[in-house]
Symmetry: C2
């Protein structure tokens, strides 16, 4: 069973046009596929409108109860359902899911070490209900997963969408599936020079990734994304790429990762 896992990033969700374009490209992808999305700026916008300021400790966002409600409403509600309704209009038989739906992804509340991150759920490869995902795919239903999971005892938890994408890809790869994982965002790939949108790497291997971390060629949010990407490659995922959604069907014009 060959499966494409596509993660679309927040910036693509923020603009209606880029969201439509991303979903159109996703529809054109042949074969079994799963869409995973994060949140974008919508949750910040809603928080702000509700007079709730983001809680940050050491630069990291804290999901308190109010924030959890907002991310559930936003990710599993407005964003997920808009995506599903747009996909349905393209005759792509999408089904929106959070981790609680069909017990799709079960997580554990993050342990408090130095920082209490609040209602954040950590997942592993075993968290993914691959039977359910394969059952949907085999019945021509396309899962659209948002980054909300559950702990199995009645609580919803906020989980990183890139991690969900990587763990889902690995879990399926461990069951003899040939899995491709595509991280789609608003750039052509991982950039050498952040000010030059054409300066993307065609290929990055694990050794060069380590070097680039050391010499600060790549920084900030790209590091955990690449870590998730290499984690997937190291655990049996067949192919991992990072780039624009409209290059999903294109073997070039994006950054391909290799070990």
């Amino acid at each position: 069973m060959k499966i494409s896992i596509v993660k679309i990033g927040g910036h693509l969700i923020n603009s209606a046009q880029s969201l439509y374009d991303s979903l159109e490209a996703f529809c054109k992808l042949k074969g079994y596929k799963v869409l995973i999305h994060g949140g974008g700026k919508k949750a910040d916008f809603i928080s702000e409108k509700m007079g709730i300021s983001p809680k940050m400790i050491q630069g990291r966002r804290i999901t308190d109860k109010e924030t959890l409600d907002i991310v559930v409403m936003t990710y599993a509600g407005i964003i997920n359902k808009n995506i599903v309704s747009i996909l349905q209009s393209y005759h792509c038989n999408a089904l929106g899911l959070c981790g609680a739906d069909g017990n799709c992804i079960q997580s554990c509340l993050r342990n408090i070490k130095n920082i209490d991150y609040g209602y954040v759920g950590d997942i592993s490869i075993k968290s993914v209900n691959t039977d359910f995902i394969k059952f949907l795919l085999k019945n021509n239903i396309i899962p659209v997963l948002c980054s909300i999971t559950h702990n199995g005892t009645g609580d919803l938890l906020n989980t990183n969408a890139d991690t969900i994408a990587a763990c889902t890809a690995i879990a399926l790869a461990k069951e003899e599936c040939e899995v491709e994982l595509h991280f789609c965002f608003e750039k052509k790939g991982v950039l050498r020079n952040i000010h030059n949108s054409e300066s993307y790497f065609q290929k990055i291997n694990f050794h060069s990734f380590q070097k680039m971390k050391e010499n600060h060629t790549i920084t900030n949010g790209m590091i955990p994304k690449l870590e998730n990407a290499f984690f997937a490659l190291q655990n049996g995922v067949y192919k991992v790429s990072i780039g624009l959604p409209n290059h999903l069907n294109d073997v070039n014009n994006k950054t391909t990762l290799c070990l």
Copy 2:
């Protein structure tokens, strides 16, 4: 195929305790079952927090774009996903759905006659994707439907939950299913005297319903609910009742409708 369709009303959703009790009762119901829920006061609370006042014309709520976003977030987001995670904690394999998911329920934007209701979707019996609902049930998945539908061209629409319950029940009954429809709310049944919670009718037939409308024994919100209920009975639904969720498994202690 014998199926129970359970609609839980807004007041049951407003309090955490009554929601837990309702879902526990739903879990105990034997056989194939579908849960349908409305919105409760949560959407009003969120609107208020966001500084958006409800738009009313001639006492009827208007769903403008801002209000649509709020009901989608609330019904398909926080309420639906909380219900699903609680049901999962009771080992009830729930799957949350809005009408767009799996193209479950397609609606038409309400025609503008005297009033423009905005983003409101009207449905008929043909709107319900019975194949999909039966497919889920046969695979031991319990559909949990919120009152958001889609028009098939990418728009989400706000739809009355009682009407979704009635149309879903009828559509399944038309396909040789033996369907029971239970409208659960915070009272023991349809009351003779609104100030006496014990004064519920054991049975109401269509003729007595017409009489009660004429002499104003029943008024306001109960009339459309009973109209939906009789519409279901007149169209092949085997049994329709109105009462408390913890009397779901009880043949007495509620109002049973008959033709």
